[in-house]
Symmetry: C3
Subunit: 457 residues, 3 copies
């Protein structure tokens, strides 16, 4: 029966190194028979029990499926095995130490070495730990690619039997991508991270100078302790709001570009494309900072400094025996200001949740774009409004321009205000209609078709 | 070699419109050769470079796989191509502008037009953007359906090569569903949303009248500023608790129905079925409102109004030189009230997390129902208890019945209390045993088998 | 056409019980023709309309695909059907009432009974409700296993047509696993849960004795009301921090073990393996407790007790007409203490989010281990630092050692401090280099190869 065959199926592993051993152990546990191919069949280290060792020729002969667990530098010996490898499935699990070390992907290089064999790139995205112990968190999926469907099928079945989920990434031309993926650490996050660090550093310096240093120089008061919470809680919302507006700015730029060009068939400049592609990351960083802002705000009343100040105020009121009247405007303003903050944050959380892979997968793209665009702009608007309410009429008081510098919250209002303004312009019926037509493929009639075509690619 | 074939594979696209161009660009980038079929091969707009254009006959001849990127209205010309399309795979990517525009799905209509071809419905759930630029958040999965496995396989391979994940939705009879999906915006959320809006509006009005207007009429006091936070924070928890209890009410109704009917083989009334199917949405809305309630509660102590009142109390105590004794009962009550709130919210968050697709997928249905049912009822109980503790003995004071209306929190306690009471009754051994037997398929012996059978469908 | 065949395809269900009916209804709705096989074809209960009933022989004859919806105890009658079942696909959907009830899996037992048939285990992980009404939250995926690919394919197609996603779990030897899965309730969570309950109980008792009982015995003061919030908020962070450090302790132990053994090819003791495998659960519990700690901390200022005490302090200050000077050190300390808490919690949330299945799936294992290890240790460090800041110089005051017992927070600092210390030692260049070499497969040369080999499995 097939069960019998399966359990009896003989696989071959080239290379008795660490990777070869881990994989071997796992295959044995999954009920395969296993033969190792080695240069020195008699002097290779400890191997999983129940496995044989042979020289490469014999090993290659005996099995239909061969796992190649040697470094790319040592591939050359395979050329001599061309006859034995003819028609065999060779699985390349290799990874390089750094990117672009070689002109072509290991797997493609391998395929050229042994054109007769069917090379399949697989398993290289898994950690050695996962290879030995089976699927774990970031190691559930085995990506494979190769030119022959049957070969991929054979590898896929083995991967499935080891408990992994198989994701077919198409032809061997995808090997480069697969080989790069384990080497990179959050590639899409570099630009947003740099931006975050830059903005945070700048605004932190800005508020330190305007608050701490100013107080020290002008009033000889040391309020440096405010750095830990008060100042941090000034920087976080500022960076968060700016990052959020930066998510929507590129979209607006794109629209303007299309309007001015009168067509959608011209490519955007690369910087705009790159910007567009990291909007999600920008948004998530912004959300993280917003959450910190929320937490930092909520701990205000338990702070020693705040409690002391409040008590001091009350005491002084008693001593000077005067009472301040209740200011309804103040109540209205602060309450709506907090209210806006809460609602904005709530919507922001919704955006964040809807960008979880599993959630966005069950959304139709119309639903997704509704959340990310319509709700997104609403969030931006509410958060900006929240900041305006915070500022209220401060911008009128000269006192707030210490050393002739505007308060930090004013600086952070520039970009979001601009974005919202432009968006409103784009929503004007006339503009909107034109844009829609352009996006539906309509083009302003002009004699530069040639150039447009050439720009298409 | 196969790689060679793959890269050389020639695909055909009917229609040089926007969709055709986007898809074409992507296919070219993926290494396919491409020929466009057009009515006016010599006068169609800009096309991706490296593509040929031909009339429909020639184009259809040359390729095995044909993407149909024209509107359903123009399908008729295909009948004349029956000979060229014989045995070919025709991919219908079309969408309609609104639902139920036509008696049958585009793809099924198409299959009838060209019975010789193998029609596959695919790609229509993707945005044009994703078709041109590859997978993005809500555009990872390509749903396809069709009657011939080989045809679906061919399309699936192309989709995979374009970087998408393929989800097979079975035979062509699923086409209608696929064509509807991009058109609908949160269909499952309509009922819950209406309910939410209704409840929120009602209770908001209710508290505005009882608090603001009452204070104005009776005491000539303007406390309208309390709308922003205080009143909002009364409405949110109320709606949240009611929505939560509405998640569990239908289940209880179903149980009662089964008990009274003495069988599970009778269908539930449609309204109950519909209600059952939107329980998850009800719960998520309830969670959202609960979160708002939490945030609104936590900002209380930083509110100007609260700080002013607290200071005022202290001051008056000094002035009148009297001290209020510490009330241990009060301390117990308020602390347990807050404690219950926190625990309830924590459990609620757990329910929410476990209903994330990726989380519920790794749960066995026994685990899932344990969380959603057992933990869910516990959450409901704690939250209701939390509200009772909030009310404490207020219901005894006539003063709290302004204008003879009960405080809002009393109203919101009705449904959850009823649900919990009924649930307890259903848990009584005798009732529970009976229900279990019914659910295991046991039926009360009675002479109406006939009717029951007819009710089965 | 194929559509025609599909719609006409005849399936057979053995067993007219509840499961058989549910499945039958669904299959009928999906457009299959259906024949039931029954012992008593003329006296079996209500069946879905449009289905025929026949005796087992006839039913088996007529269909290629047979669903077996009878309990394992009644499998024996199938032996007599060997001729009719030859070459047929038999789907075993059975589940047992408890684990390890039988020496071998139902499906494997079945395959032995009817070796001529192709047994496929499937659908058993779904709830009866899902079988009747189609996919729902925890019931999207149909796991199947079997020895013959074609047989599995056939079942997979049916499952797909019913709207489920199919996950192939390999050969029939996986049946045991599939049959166990619906029976177990959070198996990986047992150990962490026990630990949590134990720790929580111990520390709760500890603080109750040190605070409430101590105050009652020594000062005749009843502060039992503090149990609800104050004490709870002492226990939660303690348990959380300990659990978090317990996530990283096993990793460190493993490293030490490898260092002392000088090889990685010796297996770890079982208890260590088990511990390693529940690190994720430990972390999630810890996160939950941390969240409770955060919420309990944030409600402090709205508590009656706190407000009363603050007012009392102010009042007494007035009465005794003395003012306390502002203590900058105090401000620094408390603010940094809160700041650390917020940042630690923020990082902790990040760890939690990145361990969501859908998120960890899109991370490369290098990214995942970066977050879980590097960021994880950072979180542990910040949280421990947060606790040290909380303690500050309390450990110097004899008064804080009530009844000669250390404050609870001191106890909870032991494990995390040890973990961080050891980790720092492991990061010393010399140690780190050695460890890295060992993990790359290097082994201390010693004459015990034999033993090592034997330990490999």
């Amino acid at each position: 029966t097939c069960l019998h065959e399966c359990l009896q199926e003989l696989l071959c592993i080239f290379g008795t190194g660490d990777l070869g051993r881990s994989l071997g152990q796992r295959l044995i546990q999954a009920g395969y028979r296993l033969v190792y191919g080695s240069r020195r069949p008699h002097s290779c280290g400890p191997l999983p029990p129940g496995t044989q060792v042979a020289d490469h020729e014999a090993a290659a002969q005996s099995a239909q499926l061969i796992f190649l667990c040697v470094h790319r530098e040592h591939y050359d010996f395979l050329e001599s095995l061309t006859p034995q490898l003819k028609g065999k499935v060779v699985v390349d699990v290799s990874n390089n130490l750094k990117r672009d070390l070689y002109p072509e992907a290991n797997a493609e290089h391998l395929q050229r070495l042994i054109p007769g064999a069917h090379v399949v790139k697989a398993f290289n995205t898994l950690s050695a730990w996962a290879l030995q112990n089976g699927p774990s968190d970031a190691n559930r999926q085995v990506y494979l690619c190769g030119n022959r469907t049957e070969a991929k099928q054979a590898v896929a079945e083995t991967a499935t039997k080891l408990g992994f989920t198989v994701v077919d990434r198409g032809s061997l031309s995808a090997a480069r991508e697969l080989e790069d993926s384990p080497l990179q650490l959050f590639p899409d996050w570099r630009l947003p991270m740099r931006l975050t660090v830059g903005l945070t550093a700048f605004f932190f310096l800005y508020v330190v100078i305007r608050d701490v240093i100013y107080a020290y120089v002008e009033q000889r008061k040391d309020i440096s302790f405010r750095i830990m919470v008060s100042l941090a809680n000034k920087v976080f919302p500022i960076v968060s709001l700016i990052m959020l507006s930066l998510c929507y700015l590129p979209g607006i730029m794109a629209a303007c570009l299309q309007l001015s060009r009168g067509t959608k068939y011209k490519r955007f400049p690369d910087w705009l494309d790159r910007w567009m592609l990291c909007r999600k990351q920008l948004g998530l960083v912004s959300l993280a900072f917003a959450s910190l802002h929320v937490l930092y705000t909520l701990i205000i009343p338990i702070r020693y400094y705040v409690r002391y100040r409040l008590a001091a105020i009350t005491i002084s009121q008693i001593r000077e025996n005067k009472t301040t009247a209740f200011d309804t405007t103040m109540a209205w303003r602060t309450d709506s200001y907090y209210s806006m903050g809460v609602l904005g944050f709530g919507l922001f959380l919704l955006l964040g949740i809807s960008s979880l892979p599993s959630v966005s997968n069950i959304l139709s793209w119309r639903e997704f774009s509704f959340i990310q665009s319509k709700l997104g702009y609403l969030t931006l608007f509410i958060c900006t409004f929240h900041t305006y309410l915070y500022g209220w009429d401060k911008f009128l008081h000269l006192a707030s321009y210490k050393w002739f510098t505007p308060p930090s919250y004013m600086l952070c209002l520039i970009v979001p205000s601009a974005v919202l303004l432009l968006k409103m312009l784009l929503l004007l019926p006339c503009v909107d209609k034109r844009l829609t037509r352009i996006r539906q493929g309509w083009e302003r009639a002009d004699p530069e078709d040639g150039t447009r075509k050439s720009l298409l690619t």
